[in-house]
């Protein structure tokens, strides 16, 4: 077995165990502060209150109040997992056996004790191919889950899988065996929409479809009763209505895209806060299209874009230009030596000249009498059109004829899944992980999120090595090299990072400074307080 210290380093979980204790102490020592009150949060549609089959923000957020995971992202660094239902964990020296020691004082909302059986049940369901879950693809390396005793559970992997901890803390809430065993979890509507039973700081009080979900403080929560009495998740599908409610006090917290922020600026009762998250905008050339097979073409397309100017235009400059998909805040994995390509139209033109594209009499690029021409696919939802129009302009200035294909969202994603496009503008939302297998490995070229349909044996080897590395320094070295390679290869035209923009009432304290998207801050809802 590895020493405890090694384990912590290899999994980047170091601060976690200590932090868990601090939360416990904190809850007891501040009894003089105000208690009670309600927090209202906006969600866009009906949630599914079962983390195993849930998809989408509304479900992730709601479930963060009702359920716990084995581990959860830390407040200081979301890439670091800290204890949630697991007190601590050890990894065998070969990295294939993970043993989790569970908290023993945890009860389900119906009073039954939480045990290792529930953990095994949850992950067995996730790995079962008849379960409609999106968690499975990330957890597939798990071969079996054994209950050692009521407070200990052991995960066996086929080979070392460093990202495991991240994915255990990525919306993977634990569900009760005693209520779901023997039922079809996909259609257990009684549990999923009416009587969800979790271990979370809040339990369901009421739910009205398309109206609201009300959760109330769980008096038996294992970290102590939450300070708030209730949290209301209001289902408000229109962003303008959300803004009206924020302004009139009908809502206390919402995640608002920067395009819509104008409506809340200047309101003295509201704070607009932004947090780092693993969400990046990209334009992915389909590298199976001969034109995009040469990396110089991809590099040229990046050099031709003034990404600073585009960011200024669509986000007021709040979206930093990116170099690689491992962002500066993702410590210790980010390689600071790799910097974004500069805006350099001359360089772009010369790179294309190397490949044989020259300017014709009409100012447009051509080779053997054929124009440089392709179709840009994007979905007609938030922000895509604004970015696409600017990109088209920059590339036209370079001499490229870009035809626009802006489609309805479902149709766009269906085309993406079939990889039926020449070049595709969109954004990715990734877990806080340097493991980019799902985005750049040839194993994900047709079945994952590898939007560039990119196949490169050298990159594959690096990603594989990064996944199975058990030593922190070794793993870090691999990802530093990966960033250099991916920067040179430019399989995607990397645009910018989109931080999470949260609008919240000033009447609350204790809401951690974490991105909202996956519901991470709501796993700390037991610490929230209403001040007025």
């Amino acid at each position: 077995m590895m020493t405890r210290r090694q384990v912590m380093q290899a999994t980047a979980a170091g601060a976690g165990v200590l932090l868990g204790d601090r939360i416990l102490m904190g809850a007891g020592s501040v009894a003089a502060q105000p208690k009670g009150g309600n927090l209202s949060i906006a969600i866009y549609s009906d949630p599914v209150m079962n983390p195993v089959i849930a998809q989408g923000k509304e479900s992730n957020w709601t479930n963060a109040f009702l359920f716990n995971m084995l581990v959860k992202p830390s407040e200081e660094n979301p890439a670091r997992m800290v204890p949630d239902l697991a007190r601590s964990w050890d990894i065998s020296s070969d990295g294939t056996v993970w043993t989790f020691h569970l908290r023993t004082n945890v009860k389900w909302h119906d009073g039954k004790p939480f045990t290792a059986e529930d953990v095994k049940f949850t992950f067995d369901r996730i790995l079962d191919s008849t379960t409609n879950t999106r968690l499975r693809s990330d957890l597939r390396p798990i071969q079996s889950i054994d209950v050692v005793n009521a407070g200990t559970v052991r995960f066996r992997l086929g080979k070392p899988y460093a990202p495991l901890l991240t994915f255990l803390g990525y919306t993977a809430g634990i569900v009760p065996k005693h209520l779901l065993d023997g039922k079809d979890i996909n259609t257990a509507a009684e549990f999923n929409t009416k009587k969800p039973i979790g271990t979370g700081a809040f339990r369901l009080r009421s739910y009205r479809s398309a109206s609201e979900v009300v959760v109330e403080a769980n008096p038996d929560y294992h970290l102590g009763r939450p300070h708030l009495d209730t949290v209301t998740l209001k289902i408000v599908p229109d962003v303008n209505a959300q803004i009206a409610l924020l302004n009139t006090g009908g809502l206390d917290l919402a995640m608002i895209e920067p395009f819509a922020l104008g409506g809340v600026k200047g309101n003295p009762n509201l704070d607009i806060v932004t947090f780092d998250q693993m969400t990046w905008w990209h334009i992915s050339p389909n590298t199976t299209v001969p034109l995009f097979a040469d990396k110089r073409v991809r590099q040229a397309l990046t050099h031709a874009l003034d990404r600073e100017a585009i960011s200024k235009n669509v986000s007021g400059g709040s979206w930093p230009v990116m170099a690689t998909p491992i962002p500066p805040f993702l410590k210790p994995w980010h390689n600071p030596a790799v910097q974004p390509y500069a805006y350099n139209p001359e360089k772009a033109a010369s790179l294309l000249r190397e490949v044989g594209w020259t300017k014709g009499s009409d100012g447009m690029l051509q080779k053997d009498g054929q124009p440089l021409k392709f179709k840009l696919l994007w979905g007609r939802i938030a922000g895509r059109q604004e970015i696409a129009v600017l990109v088209q302009q920059y590339w036209r200035d370079l001499g490229v004829d870009v035809e626009m294909e802006g489609l309805e969202w479902s149709a766009t994603i269906a085309r993406f899944v079939k990889r039926d496009y020449q070049i595709f503008l969109d954004r990715w939302v990734a877990p806080y992980e340097p493991d980019m297998t799902n985005y750049f490995s040839s194993s994900a070229a047709t079945t994952g999120k590898n939007s560039a349909v990119y196949r490169n044996p050298e990159i594959d080897r690096m990603l594989e090595a990064g996944r199975s590395a058990t030593d922190l320094e070794e793993r870090k070295k691999i990802y530093f090299k990966f960033q250099e390679a991916i920067h040179d290869e430019q399989p995607q035209i990397f645009l910018f990072w989109q931080p999470d923009t949260q609008v919240r009432s000033k009447a609350f304290s204790g809401i951690p400074r974490m991105a909202t998207g996956l519901g991470d801050p709501f796993y700390y809802a037991n610490e929230y307080r209403r001040l007025q």
Partner: protein
Amino acid sequence: MASYVFRRLVHSGLVLLLLSAITFLIIQIAPGGPSILINPDISAEDAQRIRENLGLTRPLPVQYVRWISALLRGDFGRSFIDGRPVTEVLFERLPNTLVLSGAALLLAVSIGLVSGTIAATRIRSLIDHAVMLLSVVGVSLPLFWLALMSILILSVKFRLFPAAGMSTSPTDASVADRIHHLILPATVLSTVYMPQIARYMRSSMAQVLVQDYVRVAHAKGLHARTVLTRHAMRNALIPVLTVIGLMMPTLVGGAAITETIFAWPGMGRLAVDAAFRRDFPMIMGITVFFSAVVLLSNLIVDLTYAWLDPRIRY
């Protein structure tokens, strides 16, 4: 009569069957697919597995026959999104839409009839021009704009009405609180119907008022108000009632835009959500339910004609 009703019911059944088949086909060929399958967060491999679990890999005719035979047993299926039975969701949303559309229609009918009548009795007067101008404005203003403006001015600026929702808290809301939440969306939605009703009422009443029997009534020395309400109104109402009758299905179908902007949990929003998420069982359920209501209400209207007018016989 009985055989006519029977024939009409059989016809309605066939129309329903055809409608459901067309809808089934359309949602299948619509680009994309159920949102849980096209979420970029799931791998294509998982999507394929889910597709199998949902029965979407079977040939289309087989899927349709399975769906229709379940329907005949009263089973509308379950939502792809949260697994809830479609009927349960429909009957949860229906009352909300009845309240909103009902209030809007009531408002539109009462104001529309009165203002149309007043305009007709004072053709080319200032008040007539005002009513006609307002009705043109009402018809022309986009509903979403009106809704947002009313929220911005009446809710956010002057804090007169709540900005969204059906009540402050759906679990313990007083009647007064519910009405307070209803006023803004119902008023905004009524502007869709009101101008039509006012204009129809005006022209219909204007035609009736120059009829001989109205002149006779006046000649008899009847009070002008009695002529209007006892004689003219009844006949003027007939074409207007047809127009109002045509608006009735929206009571059930809901108003997607108003419901979305005001966060009103009604049928219109349900339909739009289902369409965007490609929630096939929900789309089919709403279509069949709504079509059945339209067909049935048409049948009732036709039967009412025969009852009202002895010259019509089936």
